[in-house]
Each structure stands twice: as C-alpha cells, then as structure tokens.
Symmetry: C2
Subunit: 138 residues, 2 copies
DNA sequence: TTCCTTTACTTGAGTCATTCAATAAAACGA
DNA sequence: TCGTTTTATTGAATGACTCAAGTAAAGGAA
C-alpha cells in the first residue's frame, strides 16, 4: 500500500506536501520541524513552514507519526509508531536513538500505583552520552 | 539543617529570593515558573520573573530542584530529588502526580540495549486521565 | 468534465516561555 | 568597612509555535 492510500485510509487528503513530508520523516530518523521543512523542499520545491507544521500535526493526530519532545529541544517526529519503543537522548549533541521496549512486547503501561489515573501511554527517555560524544573527549 | 545551610553547602549565596523560591517549590508540588513567581512574591514581596528563572536554574544545576517538562506545557519544578521517581500527567488538565519508581529502589537505568550510550538517567512519564477529569465526564 | 464544497497551503502577524544584556544592588570574604 | 563576585532588576530579544485571512488545490457531485 502506497503512502497515498495510507493517507486516504486515515481520512486525509492526498497532497504532494504530505507525501513528501511522510517520506522525509521516514528517511530521516528523528528530525525536528526545521530539518523536515528543509528536506521536504528538496523533494517537492516550495513548501511553507506552516504547511509543514500543519501536515505534521495532521499526520500525528492520525497516528502516522510520533512526536517526541526531549527537554530543552524542539519537537521531533518519527515514522515508527505503535510499537511503544523508547528513546536514548545524548546530553551533549542531542541525538536521538531508538530503544526497544524495556519489557519486551508489553506496552510498559504499569506504574506500581496509578493514583487513579487512566494510563494509556508510558513515555520513556533515557539520558546519557552517545558513543561519538564519549570518544570526542570531555 | 536550614535552607540557608543547604544553599551554602552547594556553593550558592544565600538570598531572600532563593530561600523563598525553595520554600515555594517545596510547598507547591509541581509548579510552573509563573506560579512559583506569584507565590514567591507573597512570601517576600517584589521578585522579578528573571530572578525566579535565574534562581531556578541555579537550584536545578545544584541538584536541589528537579525540572520536568511534560510535552506541550511549560517547565515545572519540584523539590523531591535524588529518588528517581516518575510522573503521571493528565492529558486533560495537565496536573502532575508522583509515582514511585516502577522497579522499586533501583534507578530504572537499564534499557535492554543502550547502543553504546552512557546512560545516567531514565525519565519516565505516564500519560492518562486523572481521577477528577474522569468524573467530570471530559 | 465542470462545478462546488471542503480541506489544505501561503503569507504575515502574534503569542508565550525563555534567554540575553546592561546596570544596580546585595552577599560575603579580606 | 571595602572591594570583588554573585545576584537582582529592567527591558529588549529570540525561537518555536500558533492564529488568521485569503488563495489554491482535492475530490465528490452533477
């Protein structure tokens, strides 16, 4: 199934911008909005930053993209959704790496005491220094 | 040991603003900067917003306060540090509640595969609907 | 195909949390 | 008490993101 069908399936219109943005995020890893904007332009020419914001929100609300916001840095988007994986974030360079769920397949949704909350998601970020920044000294 | 000594111990000068801010955060739970500013004023009169930002950063860097930034809302500070607890955040009203570490005393610092990262902290946020918002029938 | 309605895109201005910069005022060791 | 260093004040700036109004494109209906 192509991306056009994926979009239609979630009730979104198929536009060049959305197809390009979807592709960009898939290729890119964990890109911020600015990077997505720049790379998307390389694919389809002119696209406004607002169009990128709009499309990312639509794609995110439709469940096609996941949005992460590590403390202190702008939002990032990734195409890997629905598998409840977590993230390693480098304190030095800010790079993000996926980590599979700590508990295997289970969705990590069980704090020992939920205090009455109806919990539907566990958002887990591991902070540390990435291999490259370790070797770079400091 | 009083707060003044606590401040001196971490190498910070003792000022009325810092003492009041520390007290405010202790009393407040998970307050954002604006709330801290407002409440601190009630304790000591005039304090500028920037002084609050500066003090919070200093206190945070000194390890006296913990900073959390749930997606989509301004930063919040809490006085409970060093025990690696986690947070429940309400999707509806944004309120934050503490949860003890899922793994008991252990610091939850073991993703199955760290990809070479030197991990020093696990930041875990559980998202859901708080009891009050559940009964309010959204 | 053409028309029409709905949805998306563009441009430009606005908001909010946070930071920067320069001056004034305290803290605290000498 | 003095002098240096750190902290506070005031005001301006930044950056990520949103809002709003008009234009363009998508896709169903005629």
């Amino acid at each position: 199934m192509g991306d056009a069908d994926v979009l239609r399936q979630v009730g979104l219109r198929v536009t060049a911008a959305r197809l390009a943005i979807l592709r960009t995020v898939r290729e890119g890893g964990h890109l911020d909005v600015d990077s997505i904007h720049r790379r998307t332009r390389e694919h389809v020419g002119q696209v406004s930053l607002q169009a990128v914001y709009d499309a990312l929100r639509a794609l995110h609300e439709a469940g096609l993209l996941r949005k992460i916001e590590p403390m202190g840095s702008p939002a990032r988007y990734e195409a890997r959704v629905g598998d409840n994986h977590h993230h390693l974030v480098c304190r030095t360079c800010g790079s993000v790496t996926d980590v599979d769920c700590v508990k295997g397949q289970a969705p990590c949704l069980d704090p020992t005491d939920t205090s009455g909350y109806l919990v539907d998601e566990a958002d887990i970020t591991f902070w540390g220094i990435c291999p490259r920044c370790q070797t770079k000294g400091n």
